[in-house]
């Protein structure tokens, strides 16, 4: 551990490196806590050894590490039972360390021959108490899950790349094709990875509305929350939840809804899970908050955090035009999916 503190002392400390180490450990151990580290200390030592030497960061590329040190997952445990060999270290050095494409082995063989591209978007929005949009933005990721043999060369293009802002790319993405033609050209690492992240600003349409109303008089506060579809995204809006923190000055609360279930947790968090919006009515939550004695009206107003999921739609409107694969021995299976979910979707009251 000395070398690590030494590293930190030389102010050339990558605060972001630490979080990457945590990511790798989480990936390997399936979580990160004291017990997991204690149970797997040998692996932790091995990993740290390969990730840093004498305070100098080496590699944190999961693909390379996985080739040097096999994760202690169920498959390897089963293998060890079957074969009686439970070495978690590959006997060979990863080829990638010697290749110019550090994220990929030079000679990959696969039973499957498929590649999936997922657009995953999170919508962040803040509404003021009168329902006006204060800010709205989409943060999106292009996730690729690739199981392709050999050294495939992929190009992915969008129908409307101009809506994207502030793209960041996986190291495998070639910069020039994007600069000139907005085409993503890359040799993918094996398995799942984030090909690109982007933001879409200045979005006007938001899928659902939440209208809270709070009126107080003489020690009581009546609360009424309405939820409904604002702009129909064309697909079902799923897993809708509304969550808010009851102000500390609320002594007790009595809340009912005409759809879904309402729970008030010990820390005064109130969560209303709605699921899907039914066709015949719009869900509403109403009830009464009793304020602590001495308080006449409510001064602190809760923020309503909304959660939802829409499968099959990238709400930013980003569309994949096509995916070409060169260098593939046979035409692989290509799958596309999209998902939008609520990020920080907040309504003030």
């Amino acid at each position: 551990m000395e070398s690590y503190s030494w590293h930190a002392r030389r102010s050339r400390c990558h605060h972001l490196w630490v979080s990457r180490v945590a990511d790798v450990l989480t990936d390997y151990l399936g979580g990160l806590n004291e017990d997991l580290i204690k149970d797997n200390f040998i692996i932790v030592y091995e990993l740290l050894d390969e990730m840093m030497d004498n305070g100098f960061p080496l590699t944190t590329e999961p693909n390379i590490l996985r080739e040097m040190i096999t994760p202690p997952n169920i498959v390897s445990k089963m293998l060890s039972v079957v074969t009686g060999k439970n070495s978690n270290v590959s006997t060979r050095l990863p080829d990638a360390t010697a290749s110019c494409i550090p994220w990929r082995k030079t000679n990959m063989k696969h039973a499957s021959n498929e590649v999936y591209v997922n657009l995953v978007e999170e919508i962040d929005a803040v509404f003021s108490r009168d329902g006006a949009l204060v800010k709205c933005e989409i943060y999106g990721e292009v996730q690729v899950d690739s199981h392709l043999p050999g050294l495939p060369d992929l190009t992915l293009s969008f129908s409307n790349p101009s809506i994207l802002n502030d793209m960041r790319f996986h190291p495998c993405v070639r910069f020039r094709p994007w600069e000139s033609d907005q085409i993503l050209s890359f040799v993918p690492p094996d398995g799942e990875f984030k090909l690109m992240t982007y933001r879409v600003k200045k979005l006007k349409s938001t899928p659902i509305y939440v209208k809270p109303q709070l009126t107080s008089d003489t020690g009581n506060c009546h609360i009424n929350v309405l939820v409904g579809v604002r702009n129909d995204p064309g697909k079902t809006i799923d897993s809708i939840t509304v969550q808010f923190q009851l102000p500390f000055c609320v002594a007790s609360a009595n809340l009912t809804s005409n759809h879904g279930t309402v729970n008030i947790l010990a820390d005064k968090t109130c969560s209303w899970s709605i699921g899907q919006i039914p066709k015949d009515k719009s869900p509403s939550l109403s009830g009464n908050l009793v304020l602590e004695t001495g308080l006449d009206r409510l001064h602190v107003f809760p923020v309503f955090q909304v959660g939802f999921k829409i499968m099959g739609v990238a709400l930013s409107g980003l569309q994949i035009h096509k995916l070409d694969i060169k260098n593939a021995p046979s035409q692989p299976y290509k799958g596309f999916r999209a998902l939008t979910q609520a990020g920080e979707y907040e309504v003030r009251s």
Binding site: H14, S19, F41, D53, T60, T97, R168, R199, V303
Partner: protein, 842 residues
């Protein structure tokens, strides 16, 4: 890598061995397996090794099994090898004789067929860190640097640095740096190149002070040839190595502007790298390269904005905090460039408080004519936030914007609305702000005072807010009809007022009010001065006495001192100097930015301590109050000391008119300050126990006090002690054994002191107040024994050690002093004696 040095185990697992038997049991089992070639032997070995390592990890000493472990290490199983290397690396340093045992098998492994084993063995060999084994390192390292496998070369490069840290001479004599340099410029593997670069930087940096050649070599690393060579290969490097390269480029001094643009073009796409560390390092390069080109520098800000804002939005809160801190730094340097991005700094409900706080600061900084309305509206939303600290910060932010803005009108209205929210913390924060606003924009007094006048002082509890309210009551008493009466009721509850700050303000406000409305305030002022004189707080007492004397001397002069016409404050002082800010900027992409401190403040021990303590001015001087200095006033009271100017005399004669009998009028205020403060010490001492009732006979009482002849206080000691000195008992004992007694003397303890010394703790606490710490104490009445120590504040850490035996029946203390610097012990004895003599008296 060495495991952590024996962390104390909080909850020992049941399997943990309690004594030596388990270790010897392990030894035995290992020995049995050592020679075994039986199938399955490796598996049993692995279990045993695992146990050994797990004991080692939790801090149990298993070094006894060293030779057995080494015997078992002859295996082809790589996991066994790794565990064995780990074990050896951990214990070699404290058992150099045993480490010799391992050299043989490690050297053998360095010639293994498998490059991974070669690499690992070499890494372990270099990590032994045993100085007398250095000679065994040179040959394997030399071979490693020429190895066919890049993995081994990579390990060998870092091995050179390890060797350098063990023995710089061996490393340099073997000419390894030259080998590294050629490797750096020719090796096909980017990681090898990166490691070589890292090692060379490290070595030449450390050597540069010693030899000219080394500092020349260090310059070469920053030469155009090398920087361009590495930059052209940057895409081959992994992300962390890229950071290293970028760090190097940030130090590069470009020859001309073409040079700058070439580099920036080459690195442009690094800004879109998925790794935030690379993005930040690139930003640093851009910022540093363009320092001298104002226009381009500004364009760079525009260019890096988007990547930074994206980085803030992605990843965990911790990550976004780190990035946000960098953004914060840039925003503070050039707020106008970010003024259109204000929405990015809006707080989300789910942001942690530390993120919100930074965002609020940035919103404050970037507010200008075009966005103030939106920003202030947003901030007002937060004022009703459930998160109280953030609500407070938001109100403060609104206030700061008001102080820096042109269109204050609307903001003042909002602040006044806050006051109507009737939440105590909102009211409290707002009052402080309204006070600051009034100091800058006195023209708003009419509107503000109307609202402030409606606030009941009973609803304001926080000292700062109460002080602000009282300040306004005093300052604007002519506009607030019931100001004297509010002050009067506050003064009546003097004893319940805990904060000295509030009491000080009460005194000043009563004075100001008195000058404006003498008949109504006369009674309140009298009560305030009496209560102030009886106050146990030194500053309050001093101020009350000072006011009283001033009034005695001349009421109109008193008014010129206490309530002169004020100029509006134009700029409030900035807390951080621009030099420090520049330093932090130079250390962009490091923890300095996150801590908002230059690195020397948290890495250097010598720098850290004075820096922390300089904030506690109160503790720095010892023993006597600083005699001869004018009393300190807190910032908010600076108006007291502002230059006075002529003002029409206000007629009302004071009850405590200038009729003092035994008081010789001083010729100027300074000398009156001096004479007052020099006497305060003894006055409090005497007046404390049975304070006479002042309300009726204040003048008399004060004259009495003045009449007392006070023996001159001892000269101010030049020696200052560190109030937070620390010394562990072991060091104390060692020092006590080494040093000679420089002073051994008896001194007397006051009868009150003897009475107070019922337990040793009483004296320990007392001495602590004088920066003299106790390290051990004991005894029972009548004999108590103490060991004290103290540390000199400035210069090298010099300690004073004291043995003090107090005999309560004879009221004597035997003092023996030992000091690192015997010449200073006389001065220290003076301090010690005076501190001791005050025990029980104060």
């Amino acid at each position: 890598m060495a495991p952590p040095p024996a962390p104390p185990q909080k909850s020992p697992s049941p399997s943990q061995p309690s004594g030596k038997s388990e270790v010897s049991d392990l030894k035995l089992q290992l020995r049995q397996l050592a020679g075994s070639r039986a199938p399955g032997a490796d598996d049993s070995k692995r279990d045993l090794f695992k146990r050994v390592i797990s004991y080692m990890t939790v801090g149990i000493d298993v070094s006894a099994a060293f030779s057995e472990m080494v015997m078992c290490s002859a295996t082809s199983d790589i996991v066994l090898k790794k565990m064995c290397y780990l074990y050896v690396g951990n214990y070699a340093r404290c058992h150099p004789d045993l480490a010799l045992l391992t050299i043989n098998f490690l050297q053998k492994d360095c010639h293994d067929e498998d490059p991974m084993i070669r690499g690992l063995a070499l890494r372990s060999l270099c990590s032994l860190r045993v100085p007398n084994l250095v000679e065994y390192l040179v040959a394997p390292l030399g071979a490693g640097l020429k190895d066919g496998s890049s993995y081994v070369r990579m390990v060998a490069a870092v091995g050179v640095l390890k060797l350098y840290h063990i023995s710089a001479a061996t490393c340099l004599d073997s000419d390894f740096p030259a080998v590294l340099k050629s490797l750096m410029l020719t090796d096909p593997d980017a990681q090898v190149v990166a490691n070589c670069l890292f090692v060379l930087q490290e070595i030449w940096n450390l050597e540069a002070n010693k030899s000219e050649e080394a500092s020349r070599e260090r310059e070469t690393l920053l030469s155009k040839k090398i920087v361009y060579y590495i930059l052209n290969r940057i895409k081959e490097f992994n992300e962390w190595a890229q950071c290293l390269v970028l760090e190097l480029v940030a130090k590069y001094i470009p020859s001309d502007t073409d040079d700058i643009f070439d580099i920036m073009n080459l690195l442009e796409d690094r800004l879109q790298h998925a790794n935030g560390a690379v993005v930040l390092a690139t930003i640093k390069v851009f910022l540093h390269l363009t320092m001298s080109m104002t226009d381009v520098h500004q364009q760079v800000y525009e260019r890096i904005k988007a990547p930074l804002l994206t980085l803030v939005g992605s990843g965990s809160s911790e990550q976004s905090y780190a990035v946000l801190s960098h953004l914060h730094l840039l925003v503070m340097r050039a707020p106008m460039l970010f003024s259109s991005d204000y929405k990015h700094f809006y707080c989300q409900f789910s942001d942690p408080s530390y993120v919100k706080k930074l965002k609020l600061e940035m919103l404050t900084a970037i507010a200008n004519e075009s966005n103030t309305y939106e920003i202030v509206t947003e901030l007002c939303e937060y004022a009703g936030n459930v998160d109280v600290p953030i609500a407070r910060e938001s109100i403060r932010a609104v206030g700061k914007i008001a102080l820096q803005q042109y269109d204050v009108n609307a903001i003042v209205d909002r602040l006044l609305q806050f006051l109507e929210m009737e939440k105590d913390y909102v009211t409290a924060e707002t009052l402080v702000l309204v006070k600051d606003l009034l100091r800058k924009y006195p023209q708003w007094s009419h509107d503000c005072i109307a609202v402030v006048g409606n606030i009941s002082s009973k609803n304001v509890q926080e000292p700062k807010a109460k002080a602000a309210l009282i300040w306004m009551l005093g300052e604007y008493s002519q506009d607030m009809p019931d100001a004297p009466y509010i002050l009067e009721s506050l003064i009546e509850n003097w004893d319940e007022e805990n904060a000295a700050e509030v009491r000080l303000h009460l005194l000043t406000a009563a004075m100001k009010c008195f000058f404006k409305r003498p008949p109504e305030t006369q009674k309140a002022l009298g009560a305030a001065l009496a209560a102030g004189l009886a106050d146990s707080h030194q500053d309050v007492h001093d101020r009350a006495l000072f006011y009283y004397r001033l009034l005695q001397y001349d009421v109109s002069v008193a008014e010129r001192v206490v309530n002169p016409p004020k100029q509006a404050v134009s700029v409030f002082a900035d807390t951080q100097s621009s030099e420090i800010k520049d330093r932090i900027f130079d250390e962009f992409n490091s923890l300095s930015v996150v801590y908002q401190k230059p690195s020397y403040m948290f890495t250097d021990k010598e720098h850290r301590e004075p820096f922390e303590f300089s904030e506690e001015i109160g503790n720095l001087s010892l023993g006597q109050e600083p005699v001869g200095n004018s009393p300190r006033y807190d910032e908010s009271d600076k108006d007291l000391l502002l230059s006075t100017s002529e003002r029409e005399e206000n007629g009302g004669p004071s009850t405590n008119g200038p009729a003092a009998s035994g008081y010789s009028a001083p010729t100027d205020y300074n000398s009156s300050l001096v004479s007052l403060s020099s006497q305060t010490q003894s006055e409090t001492a005497i007046s404390d126990p049975g304070m006479p009732k002042y309300t009726s006979q204040m003048t008399l009482a004060i004259d009495d006090l003045l009449g007392l002849s006070v023996s001159a206080a001892p000269a101010p000691p030049s020696l200052k002690l560190n109030p937070k000195a620390a010394l562990d008992p072991g060091t104390f004992q060692r020092k006590w054994g080494q040093l000679a007694v420089s002073i051994s003397q008896d001194c007397s303890v006051s009868p009150q002191g003897i009475a107070a010394l019922t337990t040793p703790q009483a004296l320990i606490r007392h001495m602590q107040a004088s920066s003299i710490q106790c390290i051990a104490s004991g005894g029972q009445s009548p004999n108590f024994k103490f060991f004290f120590f103290a540390q000199k504040l400035d210069g090298p850490p010099l300690f004073f050690l004291v043995e003090c035996i107090v005999n309560t029946s004879s009221a004597k203390a035997q003092v023996k002093i030992k000091a690192d610097d015997a010449t200073a012990s006389e001065a220290f004895f003076g301090l010690f004696q005076s501190a001791l003599s005050k025990f029980g008296v104060l």
